[in-house]
């Protein structure tokens, strides 16, 4: 506003001379909150607490306003796991201090918003590496624990929950409790994998793994189809520290699920003569450019290729390159470069479009080992038949874990990225409905960090009445008013519904 001079005379300066003791008042903003895949989102009030008192205060204020709260870490879940249409969001990203790191045992004590990136950057120069990391380094530990994330070594070390010693949780009542395998084990096993429905994780204490080099030994193995891929992986679960397969979902017939396996192992003491240098952060730097293009702009090139013929070509090329990679045998790569493939091209998701309604959904299906090959074959063939072919396919081996709601089983998973546009959304959801039935018929499961489609009937089928009943009972006990809600909760845990939620 423009002021006349006489008005200025009374504009007294009102800044406090000294800072008064800060009251508990979490910062907040109003913004558009979306899933990482950009296909779901809404405007919401976002609280950014910096302490567990502020988390409790944000919950209290939201309740006083009659609003629900979604808990959010870095927002890396592809779907609607941290969005909350019509409600508030508590983003724990500002609680990002590593409180303690024991260099003897490798135990890290971290606030909720410490990211996997923060953790590895702290641990690596001290000779440690997180036991479980995702394909991107940006998730927070609270988010990772809430979704119980897994890595390319799930068959060997389990999920991140298996590496966690204890957690602090702010319950919907505002009370902060500690949970571990000894202290409140029921809560511990339910909060991990509980996707933020029972309480806000404010602190995580977890194990890391001793490493003897900043590098890891990797080999690429090109395989002609998904069956061969699974055969190779099964034969090497004993001698590999990481096993992951990339699939070209466009391959047909004998080449269905052709791809490239990455088989990696940690270096033993003495194997890396230059360990002091490789275990520096500088050595872990991801490349700044890709084929001469600054990496920040590479998504624009991918954007030009983000259609079926383009990806078919890209995948074909990658598959051929994989054959060359196999010829070069074992090579060494930094931990960061090996683990965080998704971070090589910043904002690669923009290749799927940036306008409202465009984006991607990730759909990861888990199948027990007995039915996996048959199931994956069916899933690949059906998506090809329906014209919704996944642009990326990733195959991993898994093992069961003790958490209440878990995607873990003795079997396999295949993760897929499907392009979403406003015009194809409906038919994509219908395709997913078909695939969901295929998976559930074979005793399969899904994973909420990478889901945007499944409905209540799928949830009932995959967890079974007992686990689901126990989870609901705990939710009723801790959060009878259902203060903690997300779009995911309303979609997949509604009283009734179909196998697939509506598009």
């Amino acid at each position: 506003m423009e002021e006349s001079p006489e008005a200025n005379a009374r504009t007294a300066r009102q800044r406090p001379r000294s800072r008064p003791r800060r009251e508990v008042r979490p910062r907040r903003g109003f913004e558009y909150v979306e899933g990482w895949g950009m296909s779901v989102g809404s405007q919401a009030r976002v609280w950014r607490p910096t302490s567990s008192e502020e988390v409790a205060e944000a919950l209290r204020r939201a309740r006083a306003d009659g609003r629900t709260v979604a808990l959010r870490g870095a927002g890396c879940s592809y779907g609607d796991a941290s969005t909350n249409a019509g409600g508030d969001v508590v983003d724990v990203g500002r609680m990002n201090r590593i409180l303690d790191f024991d260099e003897e045992t490798g135990v890290a004590d971290c606030e909720a918003g410490v990211t996997i990136r923060d953790l590895w950057r702290h641990a690596l120069p001290r000779g440690w590496w997180p036991k479980v990391v995702s394909g991107t380094m940006f998730p927070t530990l609270a988010g990772a624990a809430g979704m119980n994330i897994h890595g390319k070594n799930n068959y060997l070390v389990g999920t991140i929950g298996d590496a966690i010693l204890d957690l602090d949780v702010v319950l919907p009542s505002g009370e902060e409790v500690r949970a571990s395998r000894e202290e409140r084990p029921d809560l511990f096993h339910a909060v991990i994998g509980g996707f933020g429905m029972l309480g806000a994780i404010t602190r995580v204490r977890l194990h890391t793994k001793r490493i003897h080099s900043g590098e890891i030994e990797v080999a690429g193995i090109s395989v002609p189809n998904v069956g061969a891929m699974m055969e190779y992986v099964d034969a090497h679960t004993d001698d590999a520290d990481y096993l992951v397969g990339w699939l070209d979902c466009f391959g047909r017939g004998d080449a269905l699920g052709r791809g490239l396996i990455h088989h990696a192992r940690y270096l033993e003491p003495g194997e890396d003569p230059d360990a002091a240098r490789t275990m520096t952060l500088a050595h872990q730097q991801l490349p700044g450019s890709i084929l001469g293009f600054p990496k920040g702009e590479v998504w624009r090139i991918l954007r030009l290729l983000a259609h079926d013929p383009g990806i078919r070509l890209l995948n074909f090329t990658k598959h051929q390159m994989g054959k060359l990679e196999q010829r070069k045998g074992w090579y060494r790569q930094s931990h960061a470069a090996f683990n965080f493939l998704l971070d090589f091209v910043p904002n690669w998701k923009f290749a799927y479009g940036r306008r409202p309604g465009k984006g991607l959904i990730q759909y990861q299906v888990f199948l027990p080992k007995e039915t996996a090959l048959d199931g994956f074959t069916e899933v690949l063939q059906r998506q090809q038949r329906r014209g919704h072919v996944s642009y990326l396919g990733v195959l991993k081996r898994h093992r069961p874990d003790p958490f209440l709601l878990t995607h873990g089983l003795d079997g396999w998973s295949m993760a897929m990225d499907f392009k979403v546009t406003p015009g194809t959304r409906q038919s994509l959801w219908e395709t997913c409905d078909e695939l969901t039935r295929v998976v559930l018929e074979r005793g399969g499961r899904f994973y909420f960090a990478k889901d945007a489609v499944i409905g209540p009937r799928a949830v009932e089928a995959m967890y079974g009445a007992e686990a689901l009943g126990a989870f609901r009972a705990l939710k009723d006990e801790l959060d009878p008013e259902e203060l903690l809600q997300t779009d995911l909760w309303r979609r997949a845990f509604a009283a009734e519904g179909a196998f697939t939620a509506s598009a």
Binding site: M1, A12, G29
Partner: protein, 267 residues
């Protein structure tokens, strides 16, 4: 927080048909008021924020009456931009009532008369609070929303006075220079997110703020300035724009005068 008018929920369905949704801070007079009038006339759903409630009300009434056949009532909120604690709640309410936001203009500014031998810290800091403190408080809220929604246009009214440190207005010029730098940073941050950030540098515009000046050089009316501002904001060509454009020439000349000569002038 004083609210002179509650939202009009019954009108919100109309807002869905609006050409766009705009928020103008510093809307009670001058360019801000002219912008509100023009946006409303063009069919935008507009929220007007300013300190002087009576002026705002009159403006809203006038804009409502003058709007075309699709009427989007102008939301108005009385608020002093130096009360930065009020901003988050106010902003949230406005965006909810408008149903979203596409265009934001920060037009609040103050330029008290400063004597040639005056060095008054209180006065200077008060100016800082309006021209910069309020600007940061509001623009940060908007920037966060636009960043997260990956669209929107932010317009900051700077000044040609920020192009050079003149004798007459040390702190006014400094605030406008700071604003230009701040907006440039935002532009660089947000361009990847598809958000436009425009810095407007008006020359001499006939507004209440300039009333106390003895002489205006190449003055234009606030209405004319507002028209040009909207054109620039909706165009793609200019990120930083002098209004009217002839001031760009003036600015280039002034900026090229070496310091030892510049200090001898009375510009």
């Amino acid at each position: 927080m004083t609210q002179t008018a509650a939202a009009q929920p019954s009108r919100s369905t109309d807002r869905a048909t609006a050409r766009g949704r705009a928020l103008v801070v510093g809307a009670s007079s001058g360019m801000g008021a002219a912008l509100v009038r023009q946006l409303a006339a063009e069919g935008y759903a507009v929220a007007a924020v300013a300190r002087r409630a009576s002026l705002l009300e009159a403006l809203a009434k006038e804009a409502d009456a003058g709007a075309g056949h699709v009427v989007h009532r102008v939301l108005h909120r009385a608020h002093d931009v130096t009360a930065i604690d009020e901003v988050p709640e106010l902003f949230e309410g406005i965006v909810r009532d408008l149903g979203g936001l596409d265009l934001f203009v920060y037009a609040a500014g103050t330029m008290p008369d400063v004597g040639p031998e005056e060095y008054d810290t209180e006065k200077d800091l008060a100016m800082l609070d309006v021209n910069l403190g309020g600007c940061f408080a509001w623009t940060n809220q908007v920037a966060r929303l636009f960043h997260s929604q990956r669209s929107g246009t932010i317009v900051g009214i700077g000044s040609i006075a920020g192009d050079r440190g003149r004798k007459g207005a040390p702190v006014y010029g400094a605030t406008k220079a700071a604003m230009a730098t701040y907006l440039e940073s935002l532009r660089n941050r947000l361009s990847e997110r598809g958000v436009r950030v425009v810095t407007i540098k008006p020359g001499m515009v006939e507004t209440p703020m300039t009333e106390h000046l003895d002489k205006l050089v190449m003055p234009v009316s606030a209405e004319r300035a507002a028209r040009e501002i909207l054109r620039v904001a909706r165009g793609r060509l200019w990120n930083v724009r002098h209004v009217p454009l002839r001031w760009l020439g003036v600015s280039l000349v002034i900026r090229s005068i070496p310091s030892f000569l510049f200090r001898r002038t009375n510009i």
